[in-house]
Amino acid sequence: MADDKSKAAQYWSTNLRLILGSLVVWAFVSYGCGILFRPLLSGISVGGTDLGFWFAQQGSILAFIGLIFFYAWRMNKLDKEMGLEE
């Protein structure tokens, strides 16, 4: 039982770390590259405009998809490793 408890705690803290890391990327691509850092990225040109514009209209959406699939893959694997899958 004690073992189950520590395993559960470990599972949850891994999940929290994974979420935190993913949300840092989530915020970086959209609020960072797409909005706040756009002036800093204006030197990098992409198809007639700059990298910040690309992130705001395309890059962030692609990154969101990548993040969700990465998270789903990682967590579903963790469920199996910990014997917590349904």
Binding site: A8, G47, T49, I65
Partner: protein, 584 residues
């Protein structure tokens, strides 16, 4: 064949398909009615979620919004997709594990409180009703434009169709019709976009075409667009936004609002397992992205096309004669969506930004005004595509409106029959009785939505402010805290929800009028009067922060939640085991 009959054929065929699905997918139990029996494949659920999510606004209006605002309106693109990351990681898997039927169900159980459940029901109903009115009205307009019936008649036809599959099949019928509706709407959206992208850039993929060279001028498409709009006195399409704080907060409000909208969340209750809920969010975003990556391309290309139509010899040369205008302009003039007024009586269409003085050219003001929806609706005609593509757009617009309307109506009716009737008024109601109550609530919800669609109240135009504001400020934070904190108790949750809700509503009402009654606003709704430049539409994110803070402070000042509630929180965190506290 006459365009009217082509449209009729496409719309009729798509409706026949929806009816067929409705008959096949009848609901026999409350579980089937509320969550489609919990057996929907994650990819199918992803498609259904995409149709559920992408409304008439996404399909018809979003490209026009981006065309008008350029970079500044990228907020909608990021905001309406980024919420799925939050859903996938912060809400969907745990709420699926919880395994009940509605969003207020979780709030009521987790915060062991009937008042909390009722506040959640109220938030859900206000947000969803505001949202559904726009869908019904959108369906009515799509009908009237493409099938030449009166707007109200169109609305009634749309309601009857929704009634048929939503009342009969509940979530089960809605899910499988949404899958079909997704296919219809995505084909309808992308086909004209592919043609227009090929025509302008030679690239068949619109998202790549957006960043390619404009064939006619050899310049990058966006550079060309920037140049012509600036020559006409408009701001550059890719121009940066000075008020970054507001842009960040607005995007954040749309993201957490998306994650907190009940009709989206309940879609994740329909998949078999927690693992499927995670995958399903990813699939949903892929299907959504197919449209959301195409929309900005449609936006810039349609705007350039429109300018090229008016200035066939370039913006430095004379615009076209009104008499020589293309056929599509004549068609859409009849709908009043595009209007021409010859202010300087020269018979030509001067289309430019009035704020720039062009009197040296003999121009006396902008002479062409258009509704931004026209950029999608008239897209096939502007690109000179065959009639069947127009029929497809008609069917696609209706699919987008109806699929979202059905999802919203289910969220409303399940909150009424399950949370109000079953869990608050009459807990002893039988399974059969609850299923009847669910069907009856759905019927009432459809009748009310139809009536409000015909006579839209003032708040109907405030979907972004009201629905996203409420979902962001009250529903999302309380769900997240319910999962990620064991310490938040009933008092904290209720205080937090109310604090977030009230501050957000007050801030919106200050600028948009109390209860949206014209003339009751305290301050003019413009950037000079906004506190720190924060628009009322962006306040939901601040409301969410207030909600989190109040809930935290109040909970820590009062007693801990009971042990069984802490066990409940434990149990939703793990897909299996670790305290089977909840009795399913």
């Amino acid at each position: 064949m006459d365009q009217f009959y082509i449209n009729l054929l496409f719309v009729g065929a798509s409706f026949a398909l929806y009816f067929g699905i409705a008959i096949w997918a009848r609901a026999g139990s409350t579980k089937e009615f509320y969550v489609a029996g919990g057996g929907v494949h994650p990819v199918a659920n992803g498609m259904a979620t995409a149709a559920d999510w992408m409304s008439a606004a996404s399909f018809i209006s979003m490209a026009g919004l981006i065309a008008a605002g350029g970079y500044a309106n990228s907020t909608f693109l990021m905001g309406w997709t980024g919420g799925y990351v939050l859903l996938a990681m912060l809400l969907a898997p745990y709420l699926r594990k919880f395994g009940k039927f509605t969003v207020p169900d979780f709030i009521g159980d987790r915060f062991y409180s009937k008042p909390a459940r009722l506040v959640a029901v109220a938030c859900l109903i206000v947000a969803s009703v505001t949202y559904v009115i726009g869908q019904m009205a959108g369906a009515g307009i799509a009908f009237s434009r493409f099938l030449e019936v009166d707007k109200d008649t169109g609305l009634v036809i749309a309601s009857v169709v929704v009634f048929f599959y939503a009342v009969l099949g509940g979530m089960k019928g809605i899910t499988y019709t949404q899958v079909a509706q997704y296919c219809v709407l995505i084909v309808a959206y992308t086909i004209p976009a592919i043609f227009i992208s090929l025509e302008l850039t030679g690239n068949p993929l619109p998202p790549l075409g957006l960043f390619s060279d404009h064939t006619a001028s050899g310049m990058p498409l966006l550079a060309k667009l920037d140049q012509v709009v600036q020559d006409l006195g408009f701001a550059a399409y890719t121009a940066d936004v000075p008020n970054k704080l507001n842009m960040v907060l607005f995007t954040l409000t749309l993201m957490i609002g998306t994650a907190g909208l009940p009709h989206v969340i309940i879609r994740f209750f329909t998949v078999p397992k927690v693992a499927d809920a995670r995958w399903s969010a990813g699939w949903a975003l892929i299907f959504i992205a197919l449209l959301y990556l195409t929309a900005p391309a449609v936006a810039s290309m349609a705007r350039l096309n429109l300018i090229n139509t008016v200035y066939p010899n370039g913006v430095d040369a004379q615009p076209i004669q009104y008499e020589d205008r293309p056929e599509w302009m004549k068609t859409w003039e009849e709908t009043q969506l595009i209007k021409f007024e010859d202010k300087n009586n020269d018979g030509r269409i001067q289309f430019y930004n009035d704020k720039a003085d062009m009197s040296d050219k003999g121009w006396a003001g902008n002479e062409l005004t258009y509704n931004r929806d026209i950029l999608v609706l008239a897209n096939p005609e502007i690109a000179q595509l065959p009639g069947w593509v127009i029929g497809l757009i008609a069917a696609g617009g209706l699919a987008a409106a109806l699929s979202t309307a059905a999802g919203l109506l289910l969220a409303i009716s399940s909150a009424v029959s399950h949370d109000l009737i079953k869990n608050s008024i009459n807990p002893n109601i039988s399974e059969k009785g609850e299923l009847m109550a669910a069907r009856a609530s759905m019927t009432v919800a459809i009748v009310v939505a139809t009536y409000l669609g015909m006579n839209p109240p003032g708040f109907a135009a405030q979907v972004v402010a009201l629905a996203f504001g409420i979902a962001a400020a009250s529903i999302f934070p309380v769900l997240m805290m319910g999962i990620f904190s064991k310490r938040i108790n009933n008092k904290g949750a209720i205080a937090g929800m109310l604090a977030g809700l009230v501050t957000t509503l007050v801030y919106i009402f200050m600028y948009k009028g109390w209860f949206f009654i014209p003339g009751t606003a305290n301050l003019p709704d413009n950037v000079d009067n906004w506190i720190l430049g924060i628009s009322p539409l962006s306040f939901g994110a601040i409301g969410a922060i207030i909600n989190f803070t109040v809930a935290f402070v109040v909970s820590n000042a009062t007693e801990e939640p009971p042990v069984e509630i802490q066990e409940l929180v434990e149990s939703v965190r793990y897909p299996k085991g670790a305290g089977a506290a909840v009795d399913h």
